[in-house]
């Protein structure tokens, strides 16, 4: 069920340089799961297209429920959102996409070790996933530096957390892949979201380890509902819907088994 409505902003804060956290009250929360995203619409007609933002946390302990969206200001649209405050209204459509657990075919038991890997603005969706998994969770988060770290406390609360920074100012110096290798982490499956080179590294790593990896892909979107074919990614096999080697990130994903997509 996709909800299109004007949702109310409950709170907004700046987590660190250019990274904002917003809680919204929305009926979409009831239908949301980790790894899905919400389309946010600008109040300006000059900005035609929605901004797809991943869901960081879901709170259905109250009615209507709430969603936490953590996003980076990347242009005029997200800048507009970052200036909104409690009580402001925001047009949304969601939840969209399949979510992290939809493509998982392996059985997850309390003994399963799930490795959650987030890079930069790919970290937020890992929090709701960590909270929702009923198994052993290890998280690896990659940041540029110690000055741009966010959500670390929340992730620590959900399982073991390992941090990597590009400049070595905190945790392992290097990428999340470097941190996983340095810590010699063993896991039964990987969930990852982050920049394409990181996802490529995760795909290769999972192949080496002989375990499945479920990766959340990002692509420029327009409709967000699977109609326009703007946000495709290359699939290893001919896709059943498109009949070519393309899958739609917005509806077939954003989460794919890494073995199904070319990176």
């Amino acid at each position: 069920m996709k909800i299109r409505e004007k949702s109310a902003i409950i709170s907004q804060e700046c987590l660190c340089n250019g990274i904002y956290s917003m809680w919204i009250e929305t009926n979409a929360a009831e239908y949301a799961s980790s790894g899905q995203f919400i389309s946010l619409y600008s109040n300006s007609d000059a900005r035609l297209l929605p901004r797809p933002i991943s869901i960081c946390e879901i709170d259905n302990t109250i009615n209507p429920g709430r969603l936490r969206l953590v996003y980076r200001v990347a242009g005029a649209g997200t800048d507009e959102f970052s200036h909104m405050t409690a009580g402001d209204r925001l047009d949304i459509l969601g939840p969209l996409g399949n979510g992290f657990l939809a493509p998982v075919t392996e059985r997850i038991t309390p003994e399963t070790v799930a490795l959650l890997v987030g890079g930069g603005i790919g970290i937020p969706p890992m929090l709701e996933l960590a909270k929702s998994l009923q198994c052993n969770v290890m998280a690896v988060a990659g940041y540029r530096s110690d000055k741009e770290m966010f959500l670390t406390k929340e992730l620590e609360g959900a399982g073991r957390l390992i941090v990597a920074t590009d400049d070595g100012s905190f945790g392992t110096k290097g990428t999340v892949i470097d941190a996983i290798r340095a810590e010699q982490i063993k896991a039964d499956m990987i969930f990852a979201c982050g920049p394409k080179p990181m996802l490529k590294g995760i795909k290769d790593l999972a192949e080496d380890m002989g375990i499945p990896a479920y990766i959340s892909m990002e692509e420029r979107m327009a409709c967000g509902v699977g109609a326009c074919l703007g946000c495709v990614c290359e699939s290893t096999h001919i896709d059943d819907h498109s009949k070519v080697n393309n899958k739609r990130v917005c509806v077939d994903g954003p989460v794919f088994n890494a073995s199904e997509v070319e990176l």
Binding site: R4, L49, L93, L229, K243, V244
Partner: protein, 300 residues
């Protein structure tokens, strides 16, 4: 109050359609819009075999609009008939199938495959700016446009709409060429070729370098072109380009369009088509217009 319009002997319950490529075959949007309320669903372009389209990024937002260079990705006519046309047969709306190809033979091949289907009309895409062969190559040359129109008319069982490109010197001439070659209607405008550059990375935003501009930004150009074509031809015109409201749609109708199509606005609000239909009805009631055909081309 009459909101129905007629094109080439086919009646549409209202003049509001979807613009090809922005609405798939209606499946995805049927979650939001009651397809039974639409004048017609105009499907995404379909070719003889599956097409992969262009590399990504394929879309980019621009001020009041967007650029796209999808490259006519589609599953091919076999899957389209089996899946998409079958889906649309469940609805009480007209179905207009957008047809694309690299060669005249490919276009004709698709047209022939559609002859025994529930497609009510065919819209021939001779104006997509994002593919290397076919499409716009036919739409920018009057001789080529006349030839392909004639070839398609020879084989088509359904009425034929030629979809025109704005990327020409004189769109009225192109409309006249289609009329003289036997086309039953023309639709306009396809997207306007554009470009966007990322100044921080110093490269093109779209992988295809250029893309087609659509959205509210192009509406005045589209209204002007519909008006010019309406002065040149007697066949009906389906107008499109930046329609996001009933007011926008009425501009096109008054300029000479018998029907209109909503495109990029579907991305901003999936309910746009229904809102445009309701708004046209409201305008007619407020202004005591009993028949929408009174408004077609009423501004001269």
């Amino acid at each position: 109050m009459n909101t129905s319009v007629s094109i080439a002997g086919i009646t549409f319950k209202n003049p509001v359609m979807t613009a090809s490529g922005t609405f798939g075959s209606g499946m995805e949007y049927s979650e939001f819009v009651d397809l039974n309320k639409l004048g017609a669903v105009v499907t995404k372009g379909v070719s003889l075999t599956p097409w992969s389209g262009n590399p990504t990024p394929r879309v980019a937002e621009t001020y009041g609009g967007m650029l796209n260079a999808i490259g006519l990705q589609n599953p091919g006519i076999d899957t389209f008939i089996e899946r998409d046309l079958d889906f649309l047969s469940r609805y009480d709306t007209r179905v207009i199938v957008n047809v694309c190809g690299k060669t005249t033979k490919e276009y004709v091949g698709v047209v022939e495959r559609l002859s025994d289907t529930n497609a009510d009309m065919l819209e021939i895409n001779v104006s997509c700016p994002n593919v290397k062969e076919g499409a716009i190559a036919f739409g920018q040359d009057p001789g080529a446009l006349a030839d392909i129109t004639k070839e398609i008319k020879k084989k088509a069982k359904q009425p034929v709409i030629m979809k025109l490109s704005p990327n020409v010197t004189d769109i009225a001439l192109m409309a006249k060429v289609c009329e003289d070659a036997g086309a039953d209607a023309v639709s306009m405008i396809n997207t306007i070729t554009g470009m966007k550059i990322d100044i921080n990375r110093r490269r093109f935003v779209l992988a295809n370098k250029t893309g087609g501009l659509s959205g509210p930004a192009i509406k005045p150009v589209a209204v002007r072109m519909v008006y010019q074509a309406a002065q040149a031809v007697k066949i009906p015109i389906i107008g499109m380009g930046g329609i996001a409201s009933a007011e926008d749609a009425l501009e096109f109708i008054m300029a000479g369009a018998t029907a209109v199509a909503v495109g990029a606005a579907n991305f901003r609000d999936p309910y746009t088509t229904e809102k445009v239909i309701e708004g046209i009805g409201q305008y007619m009631a407020d202004n005591k217009v009993s028949d929408i055909t009174e408004l077609i081309g009423c501004v001269r």
